[in-house]
Amino acid sequence: MKYLILIYGNPASRKIWEGFSDDQRAEGFRYYAALTEELAASGELIVSEALADPSLTTRVSVRDGTTLTSDGPFAEAKELLAGFFLLECESVERAVEVAARVPEAAFGLVEVRPILNLGGMEM
């Protein structure tokens, strides 16, 4: 089963990160690198990425065949996607176990979403 672990950021979590010393940030990066490495070693990792700052977002809309773009920041959203892991693991329990180890889980900013598959059981 494939699961997407979504990691969000909000003003509070960003403030904490900004308040970190260089050492604390380096420690944070090491923690993420070790988690990613462990998931690669177990064969569960498909891809994981961190997203650039939300202010670099471009919104795209198409009206009458014309592509319109508008640049962030967009004030209305408090919680914004900051990164994700796409995993293939044996159960949702296992995906939750991994999600719980993402530091942002301490702030309730981590979600597990199952991926729809193309197959189907005979009914």
Partner: protein
């Protein structure tokens, strides 16, 4: 001249034999497996143009051995041990040991230190002779993911210090059980894929059947191996009828049984009959027996539900599980009526493995429909459609709900 399919079949057949011979000679599974992959690729390029060599197994073993030596020398040079590397003479291509290592290889690939995804990938490559690209296409994951899974799995096996030999006693039977589980998983990946755009996935069922046949040749007395092979054949026999031309799921009750594969059914029935008569009973045999009862009914109305219920009772006793519970309830409903089934379903909901599971809602919807409670059936189908993780099932469940929509008032 040989067709590409003939060559491909031959290469997949020889892959585990060549790998076994190499591991016996050089011991190190990791590098041997890479060397055999390279030899298989070389053959896939050369044989279509030059023809299959007189002794294809020896050809592959020789090429793989050369690759192994090259890699060993590179590695040795890296470690500044050129002198030893230069002293190493290329091995004689003969004798290729006359032992069959397929079973030992299967056990190694399904090593308990590996996750299931890694066991599957390694089994398909090292024993199945599939390339990384083919495995990635079949499982709808990036090729790099599969490549990494395989190389990490081999590192893990090496780190575990496992030797290339047949384990004995309880360990042996536990490890064989793990192999059966991996083969069944490969089969299901392919089987649950609908037709059409998922052609690569469908190939997984034939690979799973082929590998299980190989396993049965090595363990002809094992009732569960026979049971698994029978289960695969009896299930796969229905594949031509289980999806409509546009890829929609067709339920068992509505399948055109003329399109079932009669030859596969005959083989499956013979296998399971023999296994049940001669070996200790097990979960794969029981599931195969249930599949056989379904397959032997000329029409859905002719299904022997009493017998199916009896088999599910037995399965529930020896290998209970949420899906067994649900399927047993369907059989109860077919024998004792939908209301009896619905009562048991209400009790089954307490099982944490079933609470909130879309299959439970789908079964409830089906039984409510049989009990002619259209309103509640529709709601249950919709709930199941929201909860399933399969697009094909979602479409099916939504169409069942729509079928029950109340007639609009004039």
């Amino acid at each position: 001249m040989n067709t590409p399919t003939e060559i491909e079949d031959l290469l997949r057949e020889l892959a585990p034999q060549v790998l076994g011979a190499l591991v016996r000679r050089y011991r190190d599974f990791d590098t041997c497996e890479d060397a055999v992959q390279e030899a298989l690729l070389a053959a896939a390029l050369q044989w279509p143009a030059e023809g299959i060599p007189a002794n294809p197994k020896r050809w592959l073993t020789t090429v793989a051995s050369r690759r192994w030596i090259e890699r060993w020398r590179e590695e040795a040079a890296r470690r500044r041990r050129e002198q030893t590397a230069a002293a190493l003479a290329p091995p004689q291509p003969e004798p290729v040991p006359a032992v069959d290592d397929t079973l030992t290889l299967l056990l190694l690939c399904c090593h308990p230190s590996l996750t299931q995804a890694s066991q599957v990938a390694l089994t398909l490559r090292a024993v199945g002779g599939l390339t990384t690209t083919e495995i990635a296409r079949a499982f709808l994951v990036p090729e790099a993911t599969v490549a990494q899974r395989i190389s990490r799995a081999k590192q893990r096996i090496r780190a575990s210090g496992t030797e290339f030999r047949m384990p004995s006693g309880t360990e042996r039977s536990e490890r064989i059980a793990a192999v059966l589980q991996v083969l069944y998983l490969i089969f299901n990946e392919g089987y649950t894929a609908s037709s059409g755009p998922s052609l690569h996935r469908v190939e997984l069922t034939s690979q799973a059947i082929r590998l299980t046949r190989q396993l049965r040749q090595r363990l002809p007395e094992d009732g569960e191996v026979a049971g698994l092979l029978a289960l695969m054949l009896l299930t796969d026999a229905r594949r031509p009828a289980r999806t409509s031309p546009d890829g929609e799921l067709v339920p068992l009750a509505e399948q055109d049984r003329n399109r079932w594969d009669a030859q596969a059914i005959a083989e499956g029935v013979a296998l399971i009959t023999q296994a049940l008569a001669s070996a200790p009973i097990g979960p794969y045999q029981l599931q195969a027996a249930i599949a056989a009862v379904h397959d032997e009914a000329a029409r859905f109305e002719d299904t022997d539900w009493d017998q199916i219920l009896g088999l599910y009772e037995l399965l529930h006793t020896i290998a209970p599980g949420p899906m067994v519970t649900l399927n047993r309830i369907v059989a109860v409903a077919m024998v004792h009526g939908p209301r009896a089934g619905l009562r048991q379903l209400a009790a089954a909901e307490a099982d944490p493995g079933l609470a909130g599971h879309h299959r439970l809602d789908a079964v409830r919807a089906h039984l409510l429909e049989l009990a002619d409670d259209q309103e509640a059936a529709r709601a249950a189908y919709r709930l199941a459609a929201r909860r399933t993780l399969s697009l094909a099932e979602q479409r099916y469940l939504e169409s069942r709900a729509a079928r029950l929509s109340p007639p609009t008032r004039a």
